[in-house]
Symmetry: C2
């Protein structure tokens, strides 16, 4: 099976790396940003292109939500299976006559940080059970936590993640602004932050809530 | 030197435990809640009372912010040093003719979770340098991160902690509400949450901010 990853951002990079580490071949990595593509290509030994999208059986579109629809129109192979990695978009956003799917890794990615891919939950949706099974098996090579999902369910997973990750990080940024404004060392707050998170692995966050700090 | 801890909540318990673990003697633990006091007393082998506050050189008031002022009036020993552990209250909230101080551990505490006390930052304020030095030395037996502070500085430390800990935990609680409402397993979100926190040990939270999830 030929697989192409489209995108050169954090998700595309880590997905490509997770595939390669688990000996799943990537036929090509395709995108607009030649600098990033060539870096990924070099590190992971995957051919890249910014112009000629290779023929493949499976395309994984790992680009920003706003670009998914446009990018999906490049794929002209009606026999392909095309999956995007967005948490919030329905698979029907994909524009083409191919089979459509969602391949959603529930994690926050940054290029400079190593990740244990086996712990990342993957949520799979496809038009039929054969494609679901195929994507489930691919994700299972990478991760121990793969689930067949629905768009309805994924919307709530994504919303939960926005609260637990994006909004939380925004609070960290505001907290750091306050501490920077007083030339406090933000490292002082890391044990507190780690303990706040550590707690909710054992205790319901509602029970863990204390008064101000 | 005789030391008494007043309070039977999370902070009082962990402070008493940190003292005992580091061979600093606690003369008495004093409070209203006999059930909690007797548990702490039994575990740490410290005498307790709900009625007769022992004579001591140092009283540490580790009660909720709203109770600090009232509790401080029990102390009639004008030769004592009295410190509270509140992040937000000035030391002048203490009502008595004794010397006043602040002994603020920057951490979130719950009784059921073990903590590495050596990593907890302590911020010290007192009326004069002798008391500052005394409290600094006591805190330094427990922790590697002790600083002399000012009320002005502590207010900002506390505000930062409220953003980075209380508000963040509130978001975790809301996130869990959403995931519970759909019968999703909240454990799915723990790797995401841990990575969100892990990131800010290495990257400025502003740079770590991604789009929704």
């Amino acid at each position: 099976m030929q697989t192409v990853i489209i995108g050169s951002g954090n998700v595309a990079y880590h997905l490509a790396k997770a595939f390669i580490q688990n000996r799943i071949e990537i036929h090509q990595i395709f995108g607009r940003n030649e600098i990033e593509l060539s870096k990924i290509s070099k590190e992971l030994a995957i051919p890249y292109s910014t112009e000629n999208l290779a023929e493949a059986d499976l395309y994984i579109i790992a680009v920003s939500d706003s670009a998914v629809e446009n990018v999906s129109e490049f794929i002209k192979n009606d026999n392909a299976l095309v999956a995007h990695t967005s948490g919030s978009l329905p698979k029907e956003i994909l524009k083409g006559h191919y089979r459509k799917a969602s391949f959603y890794p529930l994690q926050t990615f940054s290029k400079t940080k190593k990740l244990d891919y086996s712990k990342i939950p993957f949520f799979i949706e496809a038009d039929d059970q054969i494609d679901e099974k195929l994507l489930f098996e691919i994700a299972s090579v990478i991760s121990d936590r793969v689930e067949i999902s629905t768009y309805e369910k994924r919307k709530y997973i994504h919303l939960t993640a926005v609260f637990a990750c994006n909004f939380v990080n925004h609070l960290f940024a505001r907290a750091k602004e306050i501490s920077d404004s007083q030339a406090l060392d933000f490292n002082y707050f890391l044990p507190l932050i780690k303990e706040t998170v550590e707690k909710i692995s054992h205790i319901d966050p509602k029970s863990a809530q204390t008064g101000p700090a």
